[in-house]
Structures are given as structure tokens and as C-alpha cells.
């Protein structure tokens, strides 16, 4: 057993639900107890879907346990087929039904339905949501995709976007545009928007675009092997990655690598002088492996940040993320325990967090600005406006999204800093009410500075001399912690027991960049 409050991923059958809900003409019969229908609201509320997910739950209860549950499953299957007349069905068990061992796949096969029935075997006690989505798509493709004649024009399949995916809806549009500029048509986008019948036409494409390895890699590998379709390894998130993606597609197809850059603004925005203060901003990156890898490259190469920590929660991506971390000179954090992540963030003391919904809250708690780059996300990250992560517009969206909390952060710091100013303090009144303005008396003793930090100072191993301590307090509080830590490290590395003003400034010079 493992105590958990927050989970980054749901159980694997939720992954299967994400595939089923993304598709049309497919129905999922899920052997599950009453109550598991809660998963519906992820789609109807968080993603704001205007239809119920195409799922029939058997919703068995305690009184059904025993031989009855098998019967219940068959009845539910039959009723679902008659009501929805799907082109294909997937059947499987949730965690509880896995324990009662009714074998939904076996039962459904004996029913002699006139449509393909695909049985899912999703081990609920070992694997999680992303595996469930990947495996479901793989089983669907394996069963339905057949070798067919290639299209006359060069076409590609888009593989991986699902329901409840972070910005999947708009990424599809953006990647389609990238391909269109090269003269490539999209054959099938799956699972998002595809029908089972569409899956039978997958083989007609010349190659596959693997948009999200987490949810599409198994299907792409199978199609590479069985249908001879190569798939792209670059995920086009960020300017550099988008260029690489276009080059990779050109290599696969023999077409010229063309990229329509008229609307691309990230490079100029990042180069403009207003962005200079972004230089060397320390960022911590956490999320699913794909988005983390993309974000790390953008952070370092396109925004000029310093990556001080990175990691992912999905262990399927542990190996590439470990390799990536090495390249960035940091330790990879592979964990699905949000407390580990919080501890790592507190330890790295970044100036910006790029993470999931969970890191947003960690950031709030630690007072660190945060931008969301990956699932799991909440309703506000399924926006009405067009906001892809991939391609040209995705880069623009990312620049705005990441810089926004920093600008806001700076504003907030300035406001707080000037709150103690003799002209701008809270009691001063509004400036246009001239008569009401009362300047505050300036602080008399320097020791009674705006904030007592003597407790902080006592925790260090080295002793701060009074004058150095006063000097430290003159540093704006939002960089004071870093200055203090740097100074103490500097002092202890040199075996100093006391910190004087000179030590403070020697350390400052030492760490200057």
C-alpha cells in the first residue's frame, strides 16, 4: 500500500476512456462498480464536452456479486450495441472488476456481435492512465488497420491526440498547417475525431506523425513494423523543435523543408531588449516526459533561462528524461509523488516553475511564479481561445504563457517593495487627494528594517556580523534569500566563520554573471 492524496495519473481504464471519447462510432463497455461513472465528468466538465462519453458501465452492486455480474456484463453489452449501433466496441474491466475475474473480452467474443469487439487487458494495479490510452489505441490499430494502397498524394496520419489531452485540440490544427505548407495532407488523425472505419484506412498514409509518445507510440511502432510506415521522432513544440520536425518530415518524404514563418514572433520577442531580464532565470520543469523535454529546450535555447531541475511523473519516459537531465547538468526527478516534487522545487529554489496543475499549487504555496505546460490540468487549461503548444503559433503561445507570471511576479514584488516606501505606504492615501497625504516617518534605527530576518540568519552555520546583516537587509527581499545562501556557501567553502560586509561583496563578485 502507498498513501496518496494527489495522483498525476488516473487508472488505466481512464486512459481507455480518453481514447473512446476522442473517437466517434466506437463504444466502450466497462465492467465496473456503481460509482466509477465519476470519470464521465472529467470529459463533460473539465473538457466541457457537449455529449456523454460513449461508455456503458455495468455498475454492479454488492447484491450482484457472484455469477450475476457476468450476466450483467452481457446484458450491458447487448443493450449498448442495440442502442448506439457502433462500428466497433472495446470491452474491459476497471480495477474492481479485475478482481472478480469475469473476463469481459472472452464473454463479449462469445456473443457473436456483428461488429469487431476489441478486448482490453489493462492491469489496474500496476499501470496508469497514459499506459491505458497507449495500449487501447494500439489494440484498436492492431485489430482494425490493414495494409492498403498508399494515397497518390503524400499523406500522413496524426497519431496520439486524445480527449482530455493538454491542448490536443489546437495542436492538431497547428500540425496540420505545418504539413499543409509542405504539401502534405492528413490521412487520418487518431484517436481524436477518428471512427473505427477511419482506422482501417491508416495504412494509406506514407508516414505517421507521432504527436504524443505517451499515448501513440505503441500504435506507431506497430504500424512501422506491419504497414511499413516510418514515424516522426521530433515533437514540434518550440521553434527549434518545429524546424527539426519540418526537416525530419522532409527527410522522410523527400519534399523540400518549408516553414511558413510570417506569424512566428517568439524569436523577436525573446531577442527584444525588454526580455533581457529573463536571462539566466532559474526554472524548474516537471510534467509528462514529452512536454518536459520540449520545455527544457525552449527554456534554455529560446528564452535564455537556466534549467535548475527537471523531471517527469510517467515512468514510461524515465529513460529519455534521465538522459536529457544529464545533458542539462541536473539530476532527473522521476516520481509520481507530489511531495517529492515539492521538496525538489523547494531545494532548487527556482524563480519560475513550469509544471502541471499540481506544481501551480506548489508554486502558490512557495510563492514562486508558475506556468502550466502539461497534464494533469484543470478546466482553465481547456480554453475557448486558440492556444496550441505545437508549431508556429504554439511558440507564440508559450512565450506569452511563460513570461506572463514573471511579469506579474515582478509587478507584485515592486508593489510590495514600495509599500514600505515613505511616499507610497498604505496610510499615505491616494495621490490625487493632496491634503490627505501624510508621509511616514523614516525608520530611525537601521536595525529595525522593514523586515526582521534575524531568525533566518541564525540558521546558517556561519555568523553574520551586524554590519553585514544590515547590508543584507538593504538587498531587495526577492533576491535576498539567494544572496544569503550564496554568501554562506562562499564563506563555508573558504572556511570563514564570520561574514563581514567584505565577505558579502566578495561573494557577490564571485557569483556575478
Amino acid at each position: 500500500m502507498k498513501l496518496s492524496v494527489w495522483t498525476y495519473e488516473g487508472p488505466p481504464h481512464v486512459g481507455a476512456l480518453r481514447v473512446a471519447t476522442a473517437m466517434k462510432g466506437l463504444h466502450y463497455v466497462l465492467h465496473a462498480p456503481q460509482g466509477d461513472t465519476y470519470a464521465d465528468l472529467l470529459f463533460t466538465m473539465i473538457e466541457r464536452r457537449n455529449h456523454r462519453p460513449p461508455v456503458t458501465y455495468t455498475t454492479f452492486q454488492a447484491r450482484d456479486l457472484g455469477s450475476d455480474t457476468a450476466n450483467l456484463f452481457k446484458t450491458a453489452c447487448q443493450a449498448a450495441y442495440e442502442r448506439f449501433k457502433p462500428q466497433a466496441m472495446i470491452v474491459g474491466a476497471s480495477c474492481t472488476a479485475e478482481l472478480i475475474q469475469d473476463d469481459p473480452g472472452g464473454m463479449a467474443e462469445t456473443m457473436g456481435m456483428p461488429i469487431p469487439i476489441i478486448a482490453l487487458d489493462l492491469p489496474s494495479y500496476q499501470r496508469k492512465e497514459n499506459f491505458g490510452a497507449d495500449e487501447t489505441l494500439f489494440q484498436l490499430v492492431r485489430r482494425l488497420a490493414k495494409p492498403v494502397e498508399k494515397t497518390a498524394q503524400i499523406t500522413a496520419n496524426l497519431i496520439g491526440p486524445t480527449a482530455l489531452g493538454f491542448r490536443h485540440r489546437d495542436d492538431i490544427t497547428e500540425v496540420t498547417a505545418l504539413l499543409t505548407h509542405m504539401g502534405i495532407k492528413v490521412n487520418v488523425c487518431a484517436p481524436y475525431g477518428a471512427t473505427p472505419e477511419d482506422l482501417t484506412r491508416l495504412g494509406a498514409a506514407h508516414f505517421n506523425v507521432l504527436m504524443y509518445p505517451e499515448t501513440g507510440e505503441a500504435a506507431c511502432r506497430w504500424m512501422e513494423r506491419e504497414l511499413g510506415q516510418p514515424f516522426t521522432k521530433t515533437v514540434p513544440i518550440g521553434v527549434g523543435a518545429t524546424r527539426d520536425f519540418v526537416a525530419e518530415v522532409a527527410r522522410i518524404t523527400g519534399l523540400e523543408a518549408t516553414l511558413e514563418k510570417a506569424r512566428l514572433r517568439l524569436p523577436w520577442y525573446s531577442a527584444s531588449v525588454d526580455s533581457t531580464y529573463l536571462t539566466g532565470k532559474r526554472v524548474f520543469i516537471f510534467g509528462d516526459g514529452t512536454h518536459v523535454a520540449a520545455a527544457a529546450r525552449i527554456a534554455r535555447d529560446e528564452m535564455g533561462f537556466e534549467v535548475v531541475g527537471l523531471g517527469c511523473y510517467n515512468r514510461e519516459m524515465a529513460r529519455p528524461i534521465r538522459a536529457l537531465a544529464k545533458e542539462y547538468g541536473v539530476e532527473a526527478l522521476i516520481s509520481d509523488d507530489h511531495l517529492d516534487v515539492e521538496a525538489a522545487i523547494a531545494e532548487a529554489a527556482p524563480e519560475l516553475i513550469l509544471g502541471t496543475q499540481m506544481e501551480r499549487h506548489t508554486g502558490k504555496r512557495l510563492g514562486i511564479p508558475c506556468a502550466v505546460i502539461s497534464s494533469p490540468v484543470h478546466v482553465q487549461d481547456f480554453p475557448a481561445r486558440y492556444s496550441p503548444q505545437m508549431g508556429i503559433e504554439g511558440a507564440n503561445v508559450i512565450f506569452d504563457t511563460w513570461v506572463h507570471p514573471l511579469v506579474m511576479g515582478l509587478e507584485e514584488h515592486l508593489l510590495t517593495m514600495f509599500r514600505e516606501d515613505f511616499e507610497f505606504h498604505d496610510d499615505a492615501g491616494a495621490s490625487h487627494h493632496g491634503g490627505a497625504h501624510v508621509a511616514r516617518e523614516t525608520a530611525t534605527a537601521p536595525a529595525n528594517g522593514p523586515e526582521d530576518i534575524s531568525d533566518d540568519l541564525k540558521t546558517g552555520e556561519v555568523i553574520w556580523l551586524d554590519a553585514a546583516e544590515r547590508e543584507l537587509k538593504k538587498i531587495p527581499f526577492f533576491v535576498r534569500g539567494k544572496a544569503k545562501r550564496n554568501t554562506e556557501t562562499f564563506a563555508s567553502e573558504r572556511g570563514l566563520e564570520e561574514i563581514s560586509i567584505d565577505t558579502l561583496y566578495e561573494a557577490k563578485a564571485h557569483y556575478a554573471r
Binding site: R48, L65, I100, H361
Partner: protein, 428 residues
């Protein structure tokens, strides 16, 4: 005071035929009760023994609350726990040790059973006994099941309270016990009204913390504030306490009838009750009247969710002038809701249980003006052109007693008003 609500119908719904259905249930399981129970019991921790699905459900239902150092969590069963039952008890004990070491403020610990733990027949009552002995007297460990196979949504609270009843100290004192977890503001108002009527020996189950003495015995009368407390009702009767049957305290009429029933049980005369309630009754009527302008004459359809449907239908039809087409409840405790059924005019389909597809067919055919349903159905029905009110809000929002009567009515009026306000077609 003159009656402003219609007289009781000559034929109520007490003996109306029940439409009993069995099929796909689109409902929450009892684990969801933890979300509001842990806010009420300030020194309790709810440890679900279940799967990743259980943890995911709590997280989805708790929304943003999950981050405020919550007092609930899930001990997620792993492969090794399923392989052999022998060490499940040890595993659980280890997790509890860790938890209690970290959270010294916890005085009550609930081990909450789930579908997986019930199916593998993990003996949580034995675990609770062992852990209780280990941590007495600082922490009391209880257990109940919130599994979907046994409980529907609010029944989780029922199972939790019923598990507390056998452990309550005995008392022969003449006293009133108010049963059901209410938001503090509503609970305080009720206690204040009862005190003004001269009733001061009142306890509340569940109490806000473990130190508050709640006792029970043959001279205890108890009044329920929630319709879903069938198991707790039975457990209290086993301890010799006597139930005061009454309509549930929704709206002016419901609250007055509830207070009068309690007063009668304690021999308080009607004049005193009237003196205490006249002013708040007038206020409640005034507040309800505003929302009733929107609601009057509108038809209403309830999907099953919380067992609050029958009392709410009674309030909405009698005090707001709505017409009920179908009132669905996941379970109907006749003994508990009979006073409300008496006041609900004959006519609507009263359904128990659910076959969601068939019920959706009935709903589409009926084309109600307002449909009360869960979050999984609300947006899809809106997209079909039906106006909905999502039901889960009714268990989180203060809706009981006089001062909340207007708020309760406006919860139902708001979606209808919004429907009229939005001119989206013109904007396109």
C-alpha cells in the same frame, strides 16, 4: 400566523406506486461523502483503502480543495497487496503509523472501505480494532464502507455516522440529538432557534471535534436533518433513541414543520414556537417569493443523486409553484421521507434506482423546464437544449432552515434566469 403555502394535498405520494429500476447507475459512490465530512469533523482523518481509481475519484470530486493539507487520503492497493491477504493488515498498520506520526492533530481516524477492499474482503473492522487499541486514548479508529457496490453518494455519510453510533457513550438524560452534517452556519441557526424554544440540551451528530460529548440512550430523541440517514436511524434506534418523524427542514414550510415536530416531542407549546419562528418565517417567505417568480409554473425532473430529491421536490412544488414530472432517488427510505411524501401532491413519477438510458429517454420525452442531475449529464443535456441544475452543489451549499430558504430557491432559479439572459444565437 396564516398559512401561505397550499394546504396538504388530499392525496399525497406516500402510497404512490414506485418505479423501481435497475440498470446503469450514473451516480457517485459513498467515498464522495468524505469531501464534506472532513470539513465538518475538524480532527478526523479519512483513510480510504482502495485503488488508484478511488484516489482519482476523490481528487476529481474535491477539485481545488485537495491542496489545502486535506485530512483525507487513499492507501492505494498494489500488486503485492492482492497476492496474499496475510500482510495486508501489516501494510495498513505501517501506513497508519506513518500517517499518525506526521499528523499529531488527528484524533479520529476512519478506515474507509472501497470496492476493491470489499471484494478482496480485507477485514477493516479488525484493523480498526487493533489500531484503536494501539493508539487509545489519543486516537479513536473506526471503519465504514464507502464502496460503490454498497453505497451511493450521500450514503457514505450515513455509513460513517452509523459507524460512530455504537461507540457513543450511554446516557439516560432527556435530550435532543440533531443528526446530519450541516454547514456550520445552518447548524448554528438551528441550535439558536431550538434554544429560543427552550431546548438547550441538544447535541449534534457528527460533532465538530472528538472532544465534544455526544451521548445516546432511551431518553434521547433524535431529529434528522438529512433524508439519507437510514442506517444511522436504525443504529440510533438500536441504542434506544426515538426518532422524531418530520419533513426535512428545507424552505419555510419544511423548517417550521421540523421545529414543530421537535417541539411537540419535548412538550413545548405551539404559541412559544410561533413566537420564536414568526419573524424568520416571514423573512424566509419573502426571500423565497423572489426566486419563485422565475420558478412558478415551471416543470421539474429529478435524476437520482443524493436522496434529497423528495424533500426538495416538496419544497419546489409547494413553496415555489413548480410542477414535478419525475422525482428520482437512488434509494427511498419510506420511514424517513413519508412526511415529505404526504405533502407532495400526487402526480409525478416517483422512481427508485436507475437505468440511465431509459430515464434519459423519459426526460427527453417530458422536456422539463428544469432538470436536476449530476455533472456527467448536465452539459450533455444543456447541449440538447434542456436547462439543468447540477445536484452536487446541494450537498455543499448551506440550504437548510429559514435563512437559507431564499438561497435554496435561487439555486434552482439561477439556471432558468441565465437561460433567458443569454442571447447567443444573435451573437453569431
Amino acid at each position: 400566523m396564516t398559512a401561505h403555502t397550499p394546504p396538504p394535498p388530499t392525496m399525497g405520494c406516500r402510497n404512490a406506486p414506485l418505479l423501481k429500476e435497475r440498470g446503469q447507475h450514473e451516480v457517485f459512490c459513498g467515498l464522495t461523502g468524505i469531501i464534506w465530512l472532513h470539513r465538518k469533523m475538524q480532527d478526523a482523518f479519512f483513510l480510504v483503502v482502495g485503488s488508484r481509481t478511488c484516489a482519482h475519484l476523490l481528487q476529481s470530486a474535491a477539485g481545488v480543495m485537495i491542496f489545502a493539507e486535506p485530512r483525507f487520503g487513499t492507501a492505494i492497493l498494489e500488486e503485492s497487496d492482492l497476492a496474499g491477504l496475510a500482510d495486508a493488515q501489516e501494510e495498513l498498520e505501517r501506513e497508519v503509523d506513518r500517517l499518525l506520526a506526521r499528523r499529531s492533530d488527528i484524533r479520529q481516524l476512519f478506515l474507509v472501505g472501497s470496492c476493491p477492499s470489499e471484494v478482496i474482503k480485507l477485514d477493516l473492522s479488525r484493523a480498526a480494532e487493533r489500531l484503536s487499541a494501539k493508539y487509545a486514548p489519543r486516537v479513536r479508529v473506526l471503519n465504514y464502507s464507502g464502496s460503490g457496490i454498497e453505497t451511493t453518494f450521500t450514503e457514505g455519510e450515513d455509513a460513517c455516522l452509523a459507524a460512530m453510533v455504537p461507540a457513543l457513550p450511554a446516557s439516560d438524560e432527556r435530550q435532543l440529538m440533531m443528526v446530519g452534517a450541516l454547514p456550520d452556519v445552518a447548524e448554528d441557526q438551528a441550535l439558536d432557534l431550538l434554544a429560543q424554544m427552550g431546548l438547550t440540551n441538544v447535541s449534534v451528530l457528527p460533532a465538530r471535534n472528538a472532544d465534544t460529548e455526544v451521548s445516546v440512550g432511551p431518553n434521547t430523541s433524535f431529529a434528522l436533518t438529512q433524508a439519507f440517514l437510514g442506517g444511522t436511524h436504525a443504529a440510533l434506534e438500536r441504542r434506544g433513541a426515538r426518532h422524531i418523524p418530520a419533513p426535512f427542514p428545507f424552505g419555510e414550510e419544511g423548517t417550521t414543520a421540523w421545529l414543530r415536530a421537535v417541539a411537540q416531542d419535548f412538550g413545548i407549546d405551539q404559541a412559544r414556537v410561533d413566537a420564536v419562528t414568526d419573524a424568520p418565517r416571514a423573512r424566509a417567505r419573502k426571500a423565497v417569493a423572489k426566486a419563485a417568480e422565475t420558478l412558478s409554473g415551471k416543470s421539474l425532473f429529478f435524476f437520482p443523486d443524493s436522496q434529497m430529491e423528495i424533500p426538495l421536490a416538496r419544497f419546489l412544488t409547494r413553496e415555489c409553484g413548480m410542477e414535478a414530472l419525475e422525482v428520482g432517488a437512488p434509494y427511498i427510505h419510506k420511514a424517513l421521507v413519508a412526511p415529505d411524501l404526504d405533502l407532495l401532491a400526487e402526480g409525478p413519477v416517483i422512481s427508485e434506482g436507475q437505468d440511465v438510458e431509459l430515464q434519459l429517454d423519459r426526460c427527453r420525452a417530458a422536456q422539463p423546464d428544469l432538470t436536476v442531475c449530476g455533472l456527467g449529464l448536465a452539459n450533455p443535456l444543456e447541449a440538447e437544449g434542456l436547462c439543468t441544475k447540477w445536484a452536487i452543489e446541494l450537498v455543499f451549499t448551506p440550504v437548510h432552515f429559514y435563512e437559507q430558504a431564499g438561497d435554496l430557491a435561487s439555486l434552482f432559479a439561477r439556471p432558468l434566469r441565465r437561460h433567458d439572459l443569454l442571447k447567443l444565437e444573435a451573437a453569431e
